[in-house]
């Protein structure tokens, strides 16, 4: 019973934290300088991971697509099939999960360490609101960065797909991309990419909440980091189910 109450209490506090973050994003003062720094730290520094993963996913997806479509003699649909699969689901979800690992762990550990070394108290002591300075800046940076990184993932995934395809059939780049892009509609690309703003919000708020509420020294920092990855991944997957349902409601397949 006590554990259930504690769990519900945490859910309540977390929800209030997320609500406050979404509210404070639109209220001055805007921490522009820190937000740009976070965009660089969380966004730009994630590009190598996302690009490399995108290439690998594209290659693997292309091999699977070839194996499946070859049975029906439909190899010519490989670029289109791969592009649709990447843009609609594989790209956003893979990018989201990778970033919940990289960004979530980073935010959880950084804010957790700041908490246990009293740096968050020190911010308050110099009359800076830690919530606006540390949390809101990271939330805004993630909400902007995750869709952009998803686009990077989609594009590098297609490049990986092209590499796999041209290795087998010698298909030229122009033909591959014409077929791939020709198959994608705005209703495939835009809602699926925009849903990752929600992923960014989830990653930043969950990991910031856990970081800001770290206790028990370095052990607590480790736990905040691990929990940030686990919980943001779970919430992200759950939110994805809901968001895909909503997208299908507005854009029936």
């Amino acid at each position: 019973m006590a554990r259930t109450l504690e769990f519900l209490d945490t859910i309540g506090r977390g929800s209030r934290f997320a609500f406050r973050a979404s509210h404070e994003m639109f209220r001055p003062p805007y921490e522009a300088r820190e937000t740009v720094r976070q965009l660089f730290e969380l966004g730009c520094r994630s590009v190598p991971l996302i690009a490399a993963s995108g290439l690998a996913v594209g290659v693997v997806l292309s091999m699977h697509t070839r194996a499946s479509l070859a049975r029906f003699g439909a190899e010519s649909l490989i670029p289109a099939g791969l592009a649709i699969a990447l843009v609609r689901e594989t790209g956003p979800l893979t990018a989201g999960l990778l970033l919940s690992g990289r960004i979530g762990a980073g935010i959880g550990a950084e804010l957790g360490a700041m908490k246990v070394t009293e740096q968050i108290d020190a911010l308050e002591a110099v009359a800076v609101d830690p919530f606006k300075y540390l949390v809101v800046t990271r939330v805004i940076a993630c909400v902007i960065a995750v869709p952009l990184l998803t686009t990077v993932m989609n594009f590098t995934g297609m490049l990986g797909g092209f590499a796999a395809e041209t290795a087998v059939t010698g298909m030229p780049l122009g033909t591959y991309f014409r077929q791939a892009f020709g198959a994608i509609q705005f209703s495939d690309l835009i809602p699926a990419t925009l849903k990752t703003t929600v992923f960014g919000f989830i990653i930043a708020t969950v990991s910031s909440y856990l970081g800001m509420h770290t206790t028990r020294g370095t052990e607590g920092v480790g736990q905040a980091s691990t929990r940030s990855v686990v919980l943001s991944s779970i919430f992200l997957i759950a939110a994805n189910v809901l968001l895909v349902r909503i997208i299908f409601f507005f854009y029936p397949a």
């Binding site: 360490a113 740096q119 108290d121 308050e124 002591a125 009359a127 609101d129």
Partner: protein, 245 residues
């Protein structure tokens, strides 16, 4: 009007009562040293004075303003007049030492960049870290971090300086320099000081008044001379120990 005042403050963490009906007043321009054994609520008392910890009951006043339940924006305004040196310095480890000192000024004033840097450099000079502007906090020793923390606490020229063990971890010469700096500050800028310390020689140098906390209450209050002649054997023993941080 006193610079700071705690009225019947009680604070517990879980089942443990840290402050128990604590009353404390520091007049403007005076210096108070808070003494006591470890875990008697000295740091918690200091954190009440800047609103980092809220009392379970009782009121906290800073320069006549009741900050106990003050909204965050009003509290920020009050905090601009307070400098706080943390026990472990609490420097922001993602920016350089100089930027740590410049941080409050950059945030709260419209001074030109060159002026901000020069001011931070001057403060670092004052605490003996003139060469360390561009070094990162992790590259400094504990004592140097403490001095950098003090420079940051002084950046906005506070009317009230709260210092949690300013000389802990410092060699005796540097500790004496920091003590002298704090005394200077009080005399030249009329800054009110509230200093938590285990260092009796420091307390004698800095403190106009000393309070001895025990189990969350004031066990003795007076000058160093008066505390040495306290009725409490614990206070007398503590004063005789000449303990250093």
């Amino acid at each position: 009007m006193p610079a700071v005042e705690l009225r019947h403050v009680t604070k517990s963490f879980g089942p443990r009562r840290v402050l128990d009906d604590l009353c404390l007043t520091v007049p403007r321009g005076r210096s108070l040293c808070i003494l006591g054994r470890s875990g008697t609520g000295k740091s918690v008392t200091l954190k009440h004075l800047i609103g980092l910890v809220k009392p379970d009951s009782g009121r906290v006043f800073v320069e006549g303003e009741d900050i106990t339940e003050m909204p965050i924006r009003d509290l920020a305004r009050v905090r601009l007049r307070i400098g706080f040196l943390f026990q472990n310095a609490a420097l922001f480890d993602s920016i350089s030492v100089g930027e740590n000192v410049a941080f409050p000024v950059r945030r709260h004033t419209r001074r030109a960049e060159a002026e901000i840097r020069a001011g931070a450099q001057q403060l670092l000079q004052r605490v003996g870290l003139g060469e360390e502007y561009d070094r990162m906090p992790a590259e400094l020793s504990g004592g140097m971090q403490k001095r950098a923390g003090l420079a940051r606490a002084l950046a906005l020229e506070p009317a009230l300086l709260l210092a949690d063990e300013p000389s802990a971890g410092l060699d005796p010469v540097t500790a004496a320099e920091i003590d002298a700096l704090l005394v200077d500050l009080k005399h030249q800028s009329n800054t009110t000081l509230v200093v938590v310390t285990h260092n009796i020689p420091s307390a004698r140098t800095i403190g106009d008044d000393l309070v001895f906390l025990h189990e969350g209450r004031v066990l003795a209050h007076g000058t160093a001379h008066e505390l040495e002649r306290s009725d409490s054997p614990l206070v007398r023993e503590f004063m005789r120990s000449e303990g250093t941080g």
